[in-house]
Symmetry: C2
Subunit: 109 residues, 2 copies
């Protein structure tokens, strides 16, 4: 779908945010989930590198800007309701601030 049509369809929530699942394209591992506002979504599409909105710091966040662990966007998918995004990426390093490759390193039971 053309970018302009997509941007007109995305359903941001009441806070102007949409959740974005980040999946490593080469391995299929789900690396993290973070939030995008319209500006970070446009930056992600324009630069080919993931940008998010940090809800805790209330600021735009270029993933990897300080750590070097950027994520190159390979494909951006969106779901049937257009209220959740799925970014397929190539990761330059660990996704998690703990140093783990994926933020989902713990399991229940």
């Amino acid at each position: 779908m053309p970018v302009e049509d997509f941007l007109a369809q995305v359903r941001f929530d009441g806070a102007g945010l949409v959740p974005c699942i980040v999946q490593e394209e080469s391995t299929g591992l789900v690396l993290m989930m973070a939030w995008m506002n319209e500006e970070s979504l446009k930056l992600t599409l324009e630069t080919g590198s993931t940008w998010f909105w940090s809800r805790s710091r209330s600021e735009l966040w270029h993933k990897g800007a300080t750590s070097g662990n950027t994520q190159r966007l390979i494909e951006l998918r969106f779901d049937c309701d257009a209220d959740t995004l799925l970014a397929l990426v190539e990761a330059a390093g660990p996704a998690c601030h703990t140093g783990a490759h994926s933020c989902f390193f713990r399991s229940v039971g």
Copy 2:
């Protein structure tokens, strides 16, 4: 992590919900993202089949109860902030109400 410890750690949002990414274990495909409240999370762990909270209908929702396309829980993971869940499942049929195998069947650009 033991279930009791996990339930004490999960960080539900202001509406009492936590996003749950559903991934097909055998293929690595991300099938859908939906929301769980504490009750649906407990039901999922107790029954081994995914339950969610429908925000549009304001009711508990046993995935596949009407369509037959249930999801058997293989493993439940959670992220570093304990505010996002990742359910690895075996899907009995399509995840999407459109009949698509995954809800993420469209892409941008």
